[in-house]
Symmetry: C2
């Protein structure tokens, strides 16, 4: 249930915050950067870190079901693994915001915007100085993002010392992040180009950039970390859990992205970070856009192409027009159907995980609900 | 001897090139990026990768001296570890060149300059398009740099599967790279600021950005990889070799940086990448600059401050003036003395490594000579 999931996330988030805080050294050359990173992480929902906990939970229960011993003091190591997931994400966001020229993130200035502001305050005025300050800000944000990645790998290795799956986990993170980096390059190229993107490529972007990285990876990493923990018997039954969790992550990611596209186009509650029409402004190549443009009759195409062409600040009547058209043409229903199918597949995978404890099952079911219906 | 070292580097470089080539997949979403990266690596000297081989050599000889068995098929794993070192370096350079706005690197366009050129060719003309193409180029180069890091960690873990020191090596790389990222931030801040930097901080930058990362880290990583290889006896005598190699790396790094500053100021042979005066143009905060400004009498300070203030295209007579002044004021001699001391310390560390085979000793001695006297 959703309330179980929210309570679970809240409690695990507190453990991750504590683990991150403990990474800030009392002094030395990295102190200032680590403070900045931990403050930045602290403003996020920390879904990826919480998923690592959830993956560990599921693997430990699978192990108990086949008679494997659950390891003592697993919690502390998992909190560090989860912290590493959040450090990866912080690095990616610091870099993404440079590429998207975003000034705000999580209700505060983005990493490069904050560095640029600080540089501007140190410099004399003038437009040349402002451009130079922006370059300094972007340069420092590139370095800080790099620092996040390096620290994350160091933390991960340290947390997993003596863990039988250490190497496998580091490799999984490395290759999972490669997938994100390549997807991000595709995203930049799409943003710069005018060509329509085939639906298959859009879905493969959803899998690479959202599903595998944000859902499958942390679930699998958490599960492997629990399965390889010192004191865990060799027969941990992990094969029965890691693969299904990875596939569950795919479904969750698709559901999350479909909902994300909806929120980016139609907006939602006041609490939402992205306002209605923000995806139009960015010219984002979403599944919804692709299906609507494909289905639209010729007489609507000019207006739609302009609205979806990027750089447009859509008026409320534009948004209402898009919504009406998508309903008339059956696009809204075709996407809703896809969402219902993914939801059913996700629940079927959960059903196949026989060893899950009731609390973990309820949390995972609530997670499916959360990604499908969240309003922020 | 220098000729031993050059021959050794040439032979190991060929193995690294082969290992990198094998990382390019025949197809798939990462093919294009990997091709670009491997081509970029292939234009470098691959010193860091060669140092990983040399560290492994030294550790294997130390192990043989205490009766530890040398592992079979160590070579292939070390080549991959060396390739990972070059991937880290490629990522750092791709990002550095954005920060320094460099258009050329290793005799060809930098990563972002090449992406920007390709984007410009796809776009319609105009100055706004050129600025947009540069932004696309920088964005793609940020992603490609990230990809290099992630791939490097994945390769490192895969190469070290079953290696007893795998976790320690990944952690060492993570924390060593953190040191570089923080040093790079300091470098950006120095470039943007006008304040004079105390000599102690300059030397600590030399250690963090050059010595530890470029010399100590690959030597230590190679040594640990050899010591932890499957089939290597537990008593590998590595304690007697990893620490001294790390310290040797510090001396090599200081020597390398002093020579680098000399080349960046006075230039050298035609083959050099950086021309005479290039450090003046960049306003680089070198040890030489710091000592010369501190020693200069008031009447010379205005001209010196202008020359060293950055953005200046120095004329040959300016370079000659700086050289003459540095000799008159004893600055040239004070730096040469520092170089001689570091060289003596490096050779003393080599002397303490009793188990080194004659060929490895000659290669390491030649390395000391190379970093001290290289002309490119």
């Amino acid at each position: 249930m959703l309330s179980d999931t929210l309570a679970y996330f809240e409690s695990r988030r507190a453990l991750i915050v504590r683990a991150l805080d403990a990474l800030v050294p009392a002094s030395g050359p990295t102190r200032e950067s680590m403070e900045r990173i931990v403050e930045f992480c602290g403003r996020g929902k920390m879904i990826r870190g919480c998923l690592a906990f959830l993956g560990a939970e599921a693997a430990a229960e699978a192990a108990a079901a086949v008679g494997g011993a659950s390891a003592a003091e697993r919690g502390e190591a998992i909190a560090l693994v989860a912290a590493a997931m959040e450090l990866f994400q912080a690095g990616l966001l610091a870099h993404d915001d440079i590429m998207d020229r975003d000034e705000l993130r999580r209700g505060a200035p983005t990493v490069h915007a904050r560095y640029a502001k600080e540089a501007r305050e140190r410099m004399a005025g003038g437009p040349a100085a402002a451009a130079e300050a922006l370059h300094v800000g972007e340069s420092l944000a590139i370095c800080l993002g790099d620092f996040c990645y390096f620290e994350a790998f160091a933390v991960l290795s340290r947390a997993l010392a003596g863990n039988g799956r250490q190497g496998e986990i580091v490799e999984l993170c490395g290759s999972g992040l490669c997938e994100v980096a390549v997807a991000q390059m595709t995203d930049v190229a799409w943003g710069a180009g005018k060509a329509e993107i085939p639906e298959g490529e859009i879905l493969s972007m959803y899998r690479g950039k959202t599903a595998h990285y944000s859902f499958s990876l942390p679930l699998a990493v958490g599960a492997l970390a629990a399965a390889g923990a010192p004191g865990m018997a060799a027969a941990s039954g992990e094969a029965a859990v890691v693969r299904p969790l990875y596939e569950l992550g795919e479904k969750l990611g698709i559901l999350f992205q479909i909902r994300d596209d909806e929120l980016g186009l139609f907006g939602a509650s006041e609490s939402i970070g992205k306002g209605a029409g923000s995806d139009l402004r960015e010219g984002k190549k979403t599944l919804f856009r692709s299906r609507l443009l494909a289905a639209a009759p010729d007489r609507e195409r000019a207006r739609l192409s302009e609205l979806f062409g990027g750089g447009v600040d859509a008026r409320p009547e534009d948004i209402a027009y898009i919504r009406r058209l998508s309903e008339e043409l059956g696009v809204a229903e075709s996407i809703a159907r896809m969402s219902r199918e993914s939801e059913a597949e996700a629940l079927a995978i959960l059903g196949s995980l026989a060893a899950l404890a009731p609390a973990t099952r309820a949390t995972l079911e609530g997670l499916v609900e959360y990604v499908t219906r969240r309003d922020k």
